[in-house]
Symmetry: C2
Subunit: 352 residues, 2 copies
């Protein structure tokens, strides 16, 4: 890593394309002044926007890309048509070539995962990528993973997720030895999900120095912030995330209707508007934008496709933080470390 | 079924025991006057409470039970110590003996499932029970199942869940041909969860007269009320339910803090209190209390353990409604019907 953090941006990604990406980078630069940006996108569209932000332009380079991966493209389709030519591919390629320290894209998630896996390859011993993101809780924020990168996970993969999630939490949450919980359901003696129990046994036995495994957690423990890191496989993680988003949207809608239901409520709403602003701020999905793709040989950040400049800036800042704090090296070291210095591969042999 | 609906109550179940069960039955009787109640519990505790509600007492019978299954008992433990003697067992047994049309318990979920399965047995062709419950949405209410009775489901079981969930929705939501969605994640071409896709194919091909299969839904579609019935296996369903509950609790807490954050907010809150009352009503978990255990040869209703009399009454009313509308016969008929009159077993042979 150079002294500045070099950030590759897929300027064509997301529902709003270059407008949000450029404006987001401009916001991020204020908070992370030692950044440099590589914009990958169509020059005709990106250059005029960059020209409006001279400070940003001064630390940026624009590289032309003919093709933009579409949000509706299937990953295989994106790989076929966008390889070596799309803004997404070229941005990822910059990380591979060590011209950038991280890449941020608000584009098609499936395509971003497929291209990242293809170009950057997986870390040794990790077979499939995971997405980790900040989840706002009553106590602050937690890291939840996998939010939908891979379906299904055996015990060993769940342990790897715990290790990678804890490394991310150390950086993004600043906890020295983050608490980790495995997502499970509370019904006793129900058959199945042997892999979650096995992962629990392994985490307990290995007594890792970098994480504090506290046991199983349930769905309602995520929002309460019971642990710093919640570990689950991607199908369940994605359903949990979307269900929480849907519930928040539903309550906002009920609240809006309720506050318009009478004159007194409308006046009350106006009087309490500073309170409502605080609530909105707590629930602002832009604050927790920016999922880290883990398990890859490189740092890839996925922004929500529909976010605005403020949200995209948050995703850039996640990338900045994990690069600044050397997430990749920390993950690699933690995965290698295993228990009490034993190499990890030997351990797998011993437990399987 | 007799002309009245005969409801067996596990009077000792739940965090608050007989006090809530008796008071809940008293409330339910007002709304379902053609009910009769069989209370199973310790006479010393239940009789004095019943004596305070003469109208309820007039339509009730109290049967003594020595033992109460504890909330922390494991199912196997409950089966060992509570068989033939506990209030829960005897209440279920009343359904088996056709002395009651349904049983309602706020007790230990695992024990209730184990005892119900043991005593009532499964419906022909169904191997494992499911829990279905009302889920408040922006459009009203949906039925979601399985909320945690069984972990894992093959395609055939998911189709059975769709059929049973639709039959429940017809009764509790009053829709003639309920829309049904299979819970899935949106990432295209991700490997795994072949069973969900296969179930989708089967539901589409079979063109069932009693349900309108609309395809996959995602986590945020549950709260928006996109479909009347959301089908998923029990692990995912339980995580989704608990995550939604946790998110709602989290937002309520943020809202409470926000409304106390300044004098203006506090005054605004007071002025808008009718609006907040409406919101509370919308989010009131008691309104959707009462999970139906499906797949059993009998109607068993699970109430939340921590609910109050109003919530327990809602669970009783769910039991009343499904009995009154003959859920069990409708499920059996729908499962038998299959496609265009072909017997179901032949179909299974044809698709597997």
């Amino acid at each position: 890593m150079s002294q500045t953090v070099r950030i590759a941006l897929d300027a064509m990604g997301g529902d709003h394309g270059p407008a949000v990406v450029v404006a987001g980078a401009d916001l991020a630069l204020v908070r992370c002044p030692d950044s440099q940006f590589l914009f990958f996108g169509h020059t005709d569209q990106v250059a005029p926007l960059l020209a409006k932000h001279p400070k940003l332009q001064a630390v940026s380079k624009l590289i032309h890309a003919d093709i933009a991966v579409r949000m509706e493209d299937k990953p295989s389709q994106a790989l076929r048509s966008g390889r070596r030519r799309s803004s997404m591919w070229l941005a990822i390629d910059a990380v591979k070539k060590k011209e950038a320290d991280t890449v941020v894209s608000a584009g098609n998630t499936g395509a971003l995962m497929a291209m990242s896996k293809f170009e950057l390859k997986m870390l040794s011993g990790i077979e499939r990528p995971a997405i980790a993101a900040l989840w706002p809780t009553l106590r602050g924020e937690s890291i939840v993973l996998d939010l939908g990168a891979s379906i299904g996970a055996d015990a060993e993969h769940l342990v790897d997720l715990a290790v990678m999630g804890a490394a991310t939490a150390r950086i993004l949450l600043g906890h020295k030895r983050p608490t980790v919980g495995l997502l499970n359901i509370g019904v006793e003696e129900v058959k199945g999900l042997e892999e979650v129990r096995e992962a629990g046994r392994m985490l307990r036995e290995r007594q890792m120095p970098d994480l504090d495994y506290v046991g199983f957690v349930e769905g309602d423990d995520i929002g309460s912030g019971k642990v710093d890191v919640v570990v689950t496989e991607g199908f369940v993680g994605n359903i949990a995330l979307k269900t929480a988003e849907g519930t928040a949207r539903q309550i906002r809608e009920h609240l809006r209707t309720a506050m318009q239901s009478s004159l007194a409520s409308r006046i009350g709403y106006l009087l309490a508007r500073s309170g409502f602003a605080k609530l909105r701020d707590k629930l602002d999905p832009r604050r927790s934008n920016g999922g880290v793709l883990l398990g890859l040989n490189g740092i890839v950040i996925k922004s929500h496709g529909g976010t605005d400049a403020e949200g995209f800036a948050a995703a850039i800042e996640v990338g900045y933080e994990v690069v600044r704090n050397d997430l990749l090296a920390k993950i690699t070291a933690a995965l290698e470390r295993g228990v009490a210095g034993e190499p990890r591969r030997a351990l797998i042999g011993a437990t399987s």
